[in-house]
Symmetry: C2
Subunit: 332 residues, 2 copies
């Protein structure tokens, strides 16, 4: 499996990207291609050890930053690490791609260079959301902020296939984010989407109130990109805030400090479990190619996880399954 | 100050409502009127002690439940504890009202019986959201799920007045919930609202990403009711889930259990601080009357807090301030 990784995407590029890829080269059956400034990458790789030949470099002189306007960056920075990587997927020189770079540019670039799967109205940015049981996939989480009911139905379909074949969840339960659990709740869009999902062959289990998301009441969480983005970021902020306030509880006196030492390993695990950035793999679904987005602040472990997700995603054949299922729907 | 309390609203009615009102009668300078089944309430009051005459009962035989359709419940259940209480506010027999009952019915009833303040396009359900610093007010949190930019601007205006005069926050900072911090982010509605808020005399400090809400980056959090409802419920669920998982960390062995005993007081405080239901006071702003909604699962302490909020709200003169500010805006 050949995975191309944008070595200049994200806040910690290129050093953390490279470290994560070295981990992947050591532990997974992959061939990694890093795109970016060849001499700099080669210099950083010198300090690392990994199986000979499992990491190669494809030179790209430019970098797309978070300040760049997405669409024009893709058009003008043709020699950027991101565009060069996308072209490798297009030319079948790589089976999948990973980037932590500018989300808008990545989305626009995937759309423009790789194209949509036939029948897909709107590709969606999906992400893994941890919960007390294990985790769900939520989509859209920010790429589409003015969805129509038929878009949400397609998100449900694509998310189900991803949950089943990549996350290995049998018969995944699809929940529609809404402001009440009962049918007939919410705005016009929610009501129509509820109706369409009920009539479809999707395993739709009804509305899900945001309160239930952390409890894992659905495996596929379907929502408009505005709402999904709010959910994702609020979960992140709330966890950060709570852990910050927990710290205040621990530093009160010598006894609470001692307690902290005892609880530290458990707390660290818990924090990791709730940190969606740890999981590293957010697929853009509906694109005709395997593209994985990593959190902008991703570190080595998250890049390693993203490469792993890319491998499972590419091997799963989900793209082909989306193609056949959505083409079928179109023809009905 | 005369506060009418719907004794049959909420999951724990009437016993917890009555307990909370007894606390209020003992500690605050208020006159409380409980609406609902007189004999039942009188029976429950017998077991309580409070200053003679500070609690009275206004009989109402019917109850609006959560299963009732809001608009028709208000129309048909004229002798319900909620409608009777609303009518007391209308007839100036009470200065403010508190209910933990069916939110939709409460909102519809306030709208129908008390009416909107002149100039207010859409009354909004607001709520206190705790953060690591203290707390903000968020609106709308579920009453209006298809807002237009001009509605959000009015929410900002009403929320600012409430934050300043009831929460006592000087020159409150207004943040617009959006999927990016920079101007020009988000959907069309967000962009237009940003523009309108920037041009207004409101202390608008820009977009706020959901991640920053728990850190108190804004005092007034403005959003569409769908998004606000998701924020409120997700915060509730996330805190519950995290505290649940913390428990698992504590029960591992004898040492972690011992640590828990040491940390218990601090943790209990933290949990209370993050539980917005504790605060008890969610005003419906834009209604020509002081109406406070309490969480459906509210217990005595929350009812006590809600009565307290109602007193401060009524004394603040915010209704008059909204009237004069929105009429001015209308005339401009």
């Amino acid at each position: 499996m050949r995975i191309v990784v944008d070595a200049y995407g994200g806040d910690n590029a290129p050093s953390e990207v490279i470290k994560g890829c070295v981990m992947a080269a050591n532990e997974l059956d992959v061939q990694i291609i890093l795109t970016g400034k060849e001499s700099e990458i080669a210099e950083l790789l010198k300090a690392e050890s990994y199986p000979e030949g499992k990491i190669t470099i494809k030179n790209a002189e430019e970098v797309i930053t978070n300040d760049d306007s997405p669409v024009s960056a893709i058009r003008t920075k043709k020699d950027s690490s991101m565009v060069v990587a996308l072209n490798m997927v297009k030319e079948k020189e790589a089976d999948a791609m990973v980037s932590a770079g500018n989300t808008g540019a990545y989305f626009a670039g995937a759309f423009r260079i790789l194209g949509r799967i036939k029948g897909v109205k709107r590709p969606a940015l999906a992400t893994f959301i941890p919960n007390i049981v294990s985790g769900s996939i939520a989509l859209d989480v920010g790429a589409n902020t003015d969805c129509k009911p038929e878009h949400l139905v397609q998100f449900a379909r694509m998310g189900s296939l991803y949950a089943e074949h990549v996350l290995k969840i049998e018969n995944p339960r699809v929940g529609l984010v809404n402001i009440g659990a009962e049918a007939g709740k919410g705005d016009e869009m929610s009501k129509t989407t509820y109706q369409l999902l009920s009539e479809s062959d999707i395993n739709f289990t009804g509305n899900i109130e945001a309160r239930q998301i952390p409890f894992g009441d659905a495996d596929v969480i379907v929502c408009d990109g505005f709402v999904g983005n709010v959910i994702l970021k609020l979960m992140e902020g709330e966890a950060q805030a709570l852990f910050g306030m927990l710290k205040d509880v621990f530093v009160k006196n010598i006894f609470t400090k001692l307690s902290y030492l005892i609880l530290k390993p458990g707390l660290r695990n818990l924090k990791k479990k709730m940190d969606y950035a740890e999981y590293g793999g957010a697929p853009i679904l509906g694109i005709d190619g395997v593209v994985i987005k990593t959190h902008g602040s991703a570190k080595a472990k998250a890049f390693y996880n993203a490469v792993k997700s890319a491998v499972v995603f590419a091997e799963s054949g989900v793209i082909e399954k989306i193609k056949s299922q959505l083409t079928e729907q179109e023809e009905e």
